[in-house]
Amino acid sequence: MQQLDRKLGFFSALPMFVVLAVSFLAPLVVVVLFSVMPQKVFDLAHVPDFSSFPYFFEQGYYKSLLWSLGLAFCSTVILFIVCWPLAYGMAKVFGRFTLVITIAVVMSLFVSENIRLFGWVLTLMKGGLIDGHLQAWFGVGIDGALYNVPIIVFGLVYVYFPFMLFPLAQGISMVPDDARQAASDLGATRWQILKEVDLPLAAPGIMVGSLLSFVLAAGAIAESKLLGGQKIIVIADEVETAFTYGQNWPLGSALAVILIAVIGGFAIFGINLINIDQIMGKKR
C-alpha cells in the first residue's frame, strides 16, 4: 500500500512537474538551440553552424560582458560593505525596530525599478532636485552627476540593496552570541571576532546575498540606460539590440547563452568556495 501511495503521489505530481519543466526549461532550451543556428534565421529548422559564437570575440561583444561583470563585482562589494552594519543591527541590535526597517525596504520594491531610477534622474539631473537647490542657495551646482560609470554602480547598489540586506541579516542572525562572547572573553579583538567568528559563521548569508546581487547586477540594463546615459553598453543591452534592431535571434541567443554560462560558472565556483553543510553544522 505504501508503495502504491508513492506511485499515486508521483503520478499526481506529474502534471505540475511537466508544467514547471516546460515553463522553466523550455525557454532556455529554445535559446540554446537558437544560439547554434545560422545568422538571422527565425526558426530552428536549419543546420547548426555555431557562427554566432566567434562573433562574440570578433565584434567585441566580450567588452560588454566584461563591463557587466566588472560593474556587478563592484556593486556587490559595495553592497556587502554598506549592508553589513545595517544587517548586523537588524539581526542583533534593533529588536522590534527591525520590522520597521524590513517594511521600509520591502515597500521600495512595490514601485517598479524604472520608476525609482527615473526618480534618481530627476534628483540628480542638471537643474534637478539637488542641482537646482544648490544653484539657488549657493550659486554653484553639480554638473556631471549623471551619465558616467560611477552613477551606474550607484544605481545597481540602490536597486539591489534588499537582495543583499535580507540574506545578510539572516546569515548574521545564525552567529551565536555565545561564540562572540567566548571569543571576547578569550581576548580576541573586535577585528578578530569579525574575521574569525562573524564572517565564517555568517558565510551562507553572505554567499546567498552576494550571489543574488551579482547575478541580478550582471544582467541589469536599466541602470546603464537611465542613469548612465549608456556611457557603457552592458551585455543585456547587446542581447536586446541583437533581438530587436539587429533582427538576429541566433546572435542574441548566443550572447544570452554565454552570459548564462559565465554567471552560472561563477555561481557554482562561489558556492564551492565555502562548505555550507559544515558551516550549518550538518554532518556529511
Binding site: D5, L8, G9, F11, S12, P15, K40, F42, Q59, G60, Y61, K63, S64, V121, M125, K126, G127, G128, L146, Y147, K225, L226, G229, Q230, K231, I232, I233, E238, T241, F243, T244, Y245, G246, Q247
Partner: protein, 376 residues
Amino acid sequence: MTINRRQFTAGMMGATGLAALGPTSALANRNDQMNILCWEGYNSDEVLSPFRRANGGSTVRAESGTSDPDMINKLRAGEVNVWDLINVNQPWAKAQLYPEGLIKPLNKERFLPYFENMLPEFQAPYPLAFADDGELIGMPQRYGPFSFVVNTNKISVDMAEDQGWDLFLDAAMSGRYGVLTYDNWNIMHMCMTAGIDPFEAVEGDNLQKFKQTADAIFAGAALKTDDLVAMNTALINGTIDAYFTGGTYTASPARFDGATNVRAITPKRGPVDGKGGLVWVELTSAVNNPDPSTLAEDFLEFVQSPEISKAVAFAEGTYNPVSQMGDEKVMSLFNADELDAIQWDSLSDDLSRSSDYRVVASYDELNELYNAAKRG
C-alpha cells in the same frame, strides 16, 4: 497524506476537463473581438472607447510596442494567431511582413477612396502602401520628418538647416549633444552624415567612412538613451544643445508643454537624391491571422474618420501629423497650439526635403560597425 485511487482519478478527470477547455475557446468565432499591435496612440481610450461603443459587446484589445522590430518579432514568434492589425513604419510591411506572409492584402474597393482626402504627399496612391504585386498592404496615417532636434535658444534654425548633419562633426559640438539610440534610424542618419546614401549598397571606402563617422558621433555624445523624454529633458535643462536622430515625433511632447525652443530640424541638403532628411509613415496592416476577425477592417475604416484621426494624432505620449489632414474637416479640429507642437508651419517644406524611410541595403554590415562604435 494518503491518496486513494478515487481521489487520483477525480484529479485526473479535472485536469483533462481543463485541458479540453483550451482548444474549444480557441476555435470560437472571433468576429466579436479584435487585437491590435501598435505604436502608442491607437491603444488610447480616445480611439478605442468609441469603437467599442460602436460595436457593442465586442472585446477590443490593443498593445503598444516599443520598436518596429519588437512588434515584428511577436508575429514571427507565432503571434499571428493573436493579432488582427499591426501598425509599424512603412518599409517593414513591404520588405518583410508581406513577403513573409505575416500580413495580408486589404480590400482595395473599401480603402482606396480614403486616399483621395489625404494630404497631397499621400495621394496618387502612396507607393509604399502597395506591395510589388500591386496589392494594398496598409493604410498610412501618422507620419513625421525625422532627422535631428536642436534647442533654438542655442542653435538657430537657419544655422542648423544649413549646416545639416555636419553640425554633429563640428569640434565645438563635442560633448554638447546626445544620441537617441533608435538604432535603425541612427544607421541611416550616420550614413547621411558621412555623405552616403543609406538606401544604396554601402561598400569599400564608404564602409570605412561610415565607421569613422559613427566613431566620431558616439565619441562626442554627452549621453545616449532610447528615451525621448530623457533626451528632451537634457535639451531643456541645458545638458545638451541638440540630439542626433529625432523629429516632430520626439520634439512635439516638449513643444506642446511649452518648450517651443525644442525644434525638429530637416537639413536643407543631403546625399539621398539631394535630400537631407527622412520621413517615417506608419502603415496599419491586417495580420494574416488564420482565424481572422471582421472587426479588423472595420477598425481600420473607423480610424479614417475626422474625429478619430485627430484622436490618433494627439493621443498620449507623442503628437504627430496625420495624412488625413488633407481633409478640411480634420484640419478644423486642430487648434493653434496643437499645430505649433507638430511644427505645421514648416511641415510641408520639411517633407519636401525628406526622403521616404526605406529598407537599408547594407543594414547588416552597417549594424555591425554601428554597434562596435556604440560600444566604444
